[in-house]
Symmetry: C2
Subunit: 342 residues, 2 copies
């Protein structure tokens, strides 16, 4: 039995879902993987909470998420550094929002964790797509890992498939249908709705954010594809290098036209290169897919990815919950993968 210290940073929707999941899965992880996942503390803007071993995540009543959020005494003077010092080693789980402007606060959090020799498991995209290389190099230097499944399409397996399931194969190209909001809007437009109607419906259902610009502008897809490329292909592509187009401005007429062509319109993130020696490029835009294309049948808010390889042919993955619980499950998977193998 191995005891793992976990520090959770960020306590929004994903952070709270992770907190709940850890409580729900504590016994399962003990029994199945021999891992005691001990949440030592939570750090957020307004302060921190220290969960001592007697108050740990499994103890009842007081630690209901809602209680933690509203009632608990968040202590402003306790910082992430205090936790890193106190517990020595383990995993920092970064659930701060993805910031595609400057990568903060994720960058500072991850850097602090890595420098102290902690592993990082993150649901946050910004730092890794704006400043690729910096954190990766630091993690190599400190001999710890950065795992970002939670940032690259939540519960849809992308990184593990690209790295492990395709080990030994050479990946020639990757295509991803990685944004639930865009796919939902396109699916509903294909059923007759206008862009505005479809977006509004997606917002009502909690699929689209109130400000959907990062999603419908293609930026979320681009960030995920870059994360996947940088991890799986070993590139160091930055968000500024990607060609990014979204779905804004798409009309029912365009949808109708694609239907007459017997094609399916999807927002696709693509990573490929012109030749074996050429640099990898990431591009996001609307693509007309044949009905037989493995991503063509993925509808609603579902996502998918396809890898083209030399020895295994193509391999496609779809599904995986996109909600906070799905993202939390991806974070948990990454934690397990650091210590356990089949």
């Amino acid at each position: 039995m191995e005891k793992i210290n976990i520090i959770l940073v960020g306590f929004g929707r994903v952070g709270q879902a992770f907190f709940n999941l850890l409580r729900e899965k504590y016994d399962y992880c003990r029994a199945r993987y021999g891992l005691e996942l001990e949440l030592r503390g939570i750090v957020r803007n307004k302060g921190s909470i220290l969960l001592s071993s007697t108050q740990r995540v499994m103890t009842p009543a007081y630690f209901l998420t809602e209680d933690l959020d509203t009632l608990a005494d968040w202590i402003p003077s306790i910082t992430l550094s205090d936790f890193l010092e106190e517990f020595g080693s383990g995993i920092v789980v970064d659930c701060t929002p993805s910031n595609l402007e400057n990568g903060e606060p994720g960058f500072t959090i991850m850097k602090a964790a890595l420098e102290k020799g902690w592993h990082v498991v993150t649901a946050s995209k910004g730092a890794l797509v704006l400043r690729p290389g910096e954190l990766q190099n630091l993690s190599k230097e400190k001999n710890v890992l950065i795992k970002a499944s939670g940032a690259t399409a939540a519960a849809l397996p992308t990184l593990d498939v690209g790295l492990n399931s395709l080990a030994g194969a050479t990946i020639q190209a990757i295509e991803g249908l990685l944004n639930g909001t865009c796919n939902y809007i396109l699916t509903r437009m294909n059923e007759g709705l206008s862009y505005d109607q479809a977006l509004e419906e997606a917002q009502e259902k909690g699929i689209a954010e109130r400000d959907p610009s990062l999603d419908v502008g293609g930026w979320d897809t681009a960030a995920k594809m870059i994360l996947i490329a940088n991890q799986v292909l070993g590139t160091e592509i930055r968000l500024s290098e990607a060609i990014v187009r979204g779905i804004v401005g798409i009309t029912p007429e365009i949808i109708e036209k694609t239907r007459r062509l017997d094609k399916v319109l999807k927002l696709i993130g693509k990573c490929d290169r012109e030749s074996y020696d050429a640099p990898w490029k990431v591009e996001v835009g609307l693509a007309l897919l044949d009905r037989e294309h493995p991503l063509a049948g993925i509808n609603e808010a579902n996502k998918g990815i396809i890898f083209y390889t030399d020895t295994m042919g193509w391999v496609a993955v779809s599904g995986g919950k996109s909600d906070p619980r799905g993202a939390a499950a991806a974070l948990l998977k990454d934690i397990i993968s650091i210590y356990w193998r089949a």
Copy 2:
């Protein structure tokens, strides 16, 4: 750089493809994974070949597969045991045919390897579905691994997704479209061919075997599903416990009927249980899938699998070459996964 001894047993279509792949990927595995995959010898019915370090797999001319097959001097007196003694540790790659009657020669080969503390990577299903538990227990006792990706749908990732990509999630059910021959026949019948026409075409294309009974009878699907269940869910289901039906006797009228219902007919292997406490059951049979079902759009000789989970929703995987090269790529992946992790 780690040097890995490999002994290949069986030199049919998959064994030869593995031999070629190892030669093709030797440098890549060195550079990417830090692994020197050294093929030390090949064992087959008519004898063995010892590949000394100066004659190893990368050396040219003499080691063209065809030459090996026809010209090389196979020495009847050298056996697997001799290799195991000579090289001490490493991986035995079992490419002997799947024998669903008595599991031989796979069982004897794998047992011998495990007893001497060698890892086993296998493309052979028989022993693992007829005598589950025996080899697994031996591998645990000897602290070595049995990897069977190559036996469970070649390059389609099934075991790694179930074990690693879904780590932390509880799998509630698995459905697999795991047999290329059956899927090809059903696809072509859906396009108007009769069963016999479709089967004949599949045989002409090298998709179906000359004796297709294990495939069209559902046995291949059952064996794969049992392998997946036993590895991923930790069950010890035997082939004799599965309910197995195939596609024999299916008529154009039945196909036509399913089309009128707006459904898709597929041969599906299923593993589920009635309640959390009930035993897992494996069943193979024709299933009417909704068009939205993630396996419904998988056609021709392609394969797919879907896992239903508590925290990640459903996750489906499709594709992965089914030919000998695809199976060889799965064997190589398993070898890498024993020594390397992302």
